[in-house]
């Protein structure tokens, strides 16, 4: 009886292992693709984070976000949009356009 439990546990664990290995390999393939591109801009990101990760000038970003020069609060885009009474999609689109307009490195 106990052996039966062990066998079932063993089979389950083996299936889980295979599942995770397949998923991990899929992610490896993703990382190996040089054309994988950047993660899109998301509502949780902050002005400084966006400027650093997407390598865009802070001044241009401050223009879009209606921030004073030198002002980079630790506030996510979603909250900045709410403070201005606009939808966060508007900001996301404008920032994405700014990123796309950057010369490729």
């Amino acid at each position: 009886m106990k052996r039966k439990f062990l066998l079932v546990g063993f089979a389950l664990a083996a299936v889980l292992t295979a599942f995770f290995i397949v998923r991990a390999v899929m992610f490896m393939i993703f990382w190996m693709d040089p054309e994988r591109g950047m993660h899109p801009v998301e509502p949780w990101m902050t002005p400084r984070y966006i400027a650093r990760v997407y390598d865009i000038p802070r001044e241009a970003l401050q223009g879009i976000l209606a921030l004073a020069p030198g002002e980079t609060p630790r506030v996510p885009l979603e909250k900045l949009a709410a403070q201005r009474g606009i939808g966060v999609e508007v900001l996301l689109e404008e920032i994405q356009a700014l990123i796309d307009a950057q010369p490729p490195q």
Binding site: G9, L16, F27, W31, T46
Partner: protein
């Protein structure tokens, strides 16, 4: 779900990171590694301070582990364990687990902090229920959590741009390692039984 949690990190900062690592010690489905990476990424851009992120994550994790251990040890976990050990059906398995923990408990605690992290919450409970020596548990726990926090915060700091994909990748690698280790242990137990049966 992950976006909401990341929003919490950028909005509330350190406190959320502490809460995430604390809750993950109770086997709650909390992507605490992703949130530590977010903390690292926000430190790289200057929104948070690196050492504060590390301390916040570390304090939450260690507090959670200690609570798990102490609860199991003092709130009847040890009595439950003793009763289960008295039963014929479970006695041998539990005895084996206990002797393994007695011999290699330090390593078990250390490695389940970061490498086999899904097992961490249960190892805390078993360590408390079997009355593993507290200094030994605490030392292995501290070292393990330092390793865990350092790996993920550094990765977030260095990578920044694709923390969600990175966290998913590592989650699957850790899953494969943990499930693989359990498969190996169960396979070994089956093998030993086969030899006894002969």
């Amino acid at each position: 779900m992950t976006d909401t949690l990341l929003l919490l990190v950028s909005d509330y900062g350190l406190l959320v990171i502490t809460l995430a690592t604390l809750l993950s010690c109770f086997a709650l489905p909390m992507p605490s590694s992703l949130m530590m990476m977010a903390g690292g990424a926000f430190s790289a851009s200057g929104d948070l301070v690196l050492w504060q992120v590390c301390v916040a994550a570390f304090c939450g994790a260690v507090a959670g582990d200690q609570i798990g251990y102490l609860m199991a040890r003092h709130w009847g976990g040890d009595r439950l364990w003793a009763r289960l050990r008295g039963r014929k059906a479970s006695a041998r398995l539990l005895e084996q687990a206990e002797s393994l923990l007695h011999k290699r408990g330090g390593w078990a605690v250390y490695l389940t902090r970061w490498l086999f992290s899904p097992l961490g919450p249960y190892v805390n409970l078993i360590a408390g229920a079997t009355r593993m020596s507290w200094p030994r548990f605490a030392l292995a726990d501290l070292l393990g959590e330092v390793t865990w926090v350092t790996i993920y915060v550094t990765l977030g700091y260095a990578f920044g741009s694709q923390i969600e994909e990175l966290s998913d990748t590592l989650g699957n690698v850790i899953g494969a390692l943990t499930a693989g280790m359990i498969t190996f242990l169960l396979g070994r137990a089956l093998w030993a039984q086969r030899r006894v049966a002969r």
